[in-house]
């Protein structure tokens, strides 16, 4: 990884430079987060060309509306991934996309797995670990994260009580947290 050393810059530093409208910081930001952001976008839109457009749109938006990021409210990555997810979900729900993809009413169906080509030693074996999540827990997380459904939409569409949706999301993330910590 040629840009591994740039990861040493802290989130605070990066935020400060972006806030100061340092265009060079965008390059650092891209190196640090693009593969994760792109991976999620690709999971949502499933088509590489569309995912690239979404990522470009997202970075432009991140740069243009950076003043609306408030670190007192949350992590930088959370803010950025939300922008990416919203753009990607808008894309798959746009009329054009809906016409071209008739199978969207099968949200729990086959999800193409794109090979992760970013070498991240810390993630080796994690995918196996997350398979310890029970299918119901994983389904809830993926419906929200990759399909953009809200808790109440999941409750309605899958006829699950709202409380159960919350409980499953919480237990899933708790379990994931433990699994990731165990690896760290």
């Amino acid at each position: 990884m040629s840009n591994e050393h740039t990861h040493t810059i802290t989130e605070e530093e990066l935020v400060a430079r972006l806030r100061a409208r340092d265009a060079a910081a965008v390059s650092l930001l891209y190196d640090m987060y693009s593969s994760t952001l792109y991976g999620v976008v690709l999971q949502i839109v499933k088509v590489e060309a569309v995912a690239e457009d979404v990522l470009q749109e997202a970075f432009v938006k991140i740069w243009n509306s950076f003043q609306s990021y408030d670190e007192s409210k949350g992590r930088l990555f959370t803010w950025m991934i939300n922008i990416c997810r919203n753009l990607a979900i808008d894309k798959i729900r746009s009329k054009h996309h809906r016409v071209s993809e008739a199978t969207r009413d099968l949200p729990t169906g086959y999800r193409p797995e794109f090979a992760s080509d970013a070498f991240k030693p810390e993630h080796i074996g994690v995918r196996e670990l997350t398979e310890q999540l029970n299918p119901e827990q994983k389904q809830i997380i993926d419906l929200m994260y990759f399909e953009g459904l809200t808790q109440s939409e999941i409750a309605d569409e899958f006829n699950i009580p709202l409380g159960t949706v919350k409980t499953r999301a919480r237990s899933a993330i708790k379990l994931l947290g433990k699994l990731f910590k165990g690896r760290a």
């Binding site: 693009s34 409210k73 997350t130 929200m144 919480r170």
Partner: protein
Amino acid sequence: MHNEDYIASGILELYAAGGLTEAEQQEVERVAASSPEVRAALDEACATMEAYAAQYAVQPNPALKTRILETIAAQNDAQNLHEEQSTAETEFTTPVVPMYAGAEEKETSAYKWMFAASIVLFLVSGLLSYNFYNKWQQAESRLALALASEQQMAQNYNTASLKMEQQEQLLTIMRNPNYKPVHLQGVEAHPDANVMVYWNPTQQQVYLDILQLPAPPAGKQYQLWALDNGKPIDAGMLTMEEGKATLQQMKAIQSAQAFAITLEPTGGSINPTLEQLFVMGEIKS
């Protein structure tokens, strides 16, 4: 709600996984900003989702980085130029797009389908009711026709049976030897007039059968007279029914030698108007 309860509710995890509406998200952010405990728990959940997302990490095409950086650089140049022109204006006018615009669109799409389906249903039901209405109208008019023809039949039957009854009556009278047939012939002024009277002296019954009489003018009516020893006795008014050979029962007459018919004002007269004598006939004994 206590912070522990709030953290335990699972809402922070929903936030991290992106399962909240924009309003719910803002609420979580507000609580997190005011409570370090909640903020720590929220960060933990978000970090976990970040690690989860990282599993799906894919290195994008290297050309994409160049493309994105160039786009941003080009935009900055344009923006700087713009800023030089009007420094007073805020440079960041890009509105924040609502987080769940997509969800709304999905809802409207569902409504659109429901709307379309309801229009189709409406049209189909409209067509069906138009069809049924037509059929109903046809059935109605056929029924009216059937009823009318049935009524006609009943009327015909009644007329026929009435005629038959009259014929039978006439036949009974004619075959009864007690009845004396009296032929009333037209006088010189009315040679065509021709009436038959059947008289039963024992039962004093008088029947009259108009064979030929001109229709009376308006306000006039024929009256039958019985002549007993030269004295005219009112025997009743004639009812003219055109084209029908009907037998009419007249007033009872005890004794008579002749019968005559005169034209009188409607309702009849006490004494016959002899100038208007039409027919007359003597009883043959």
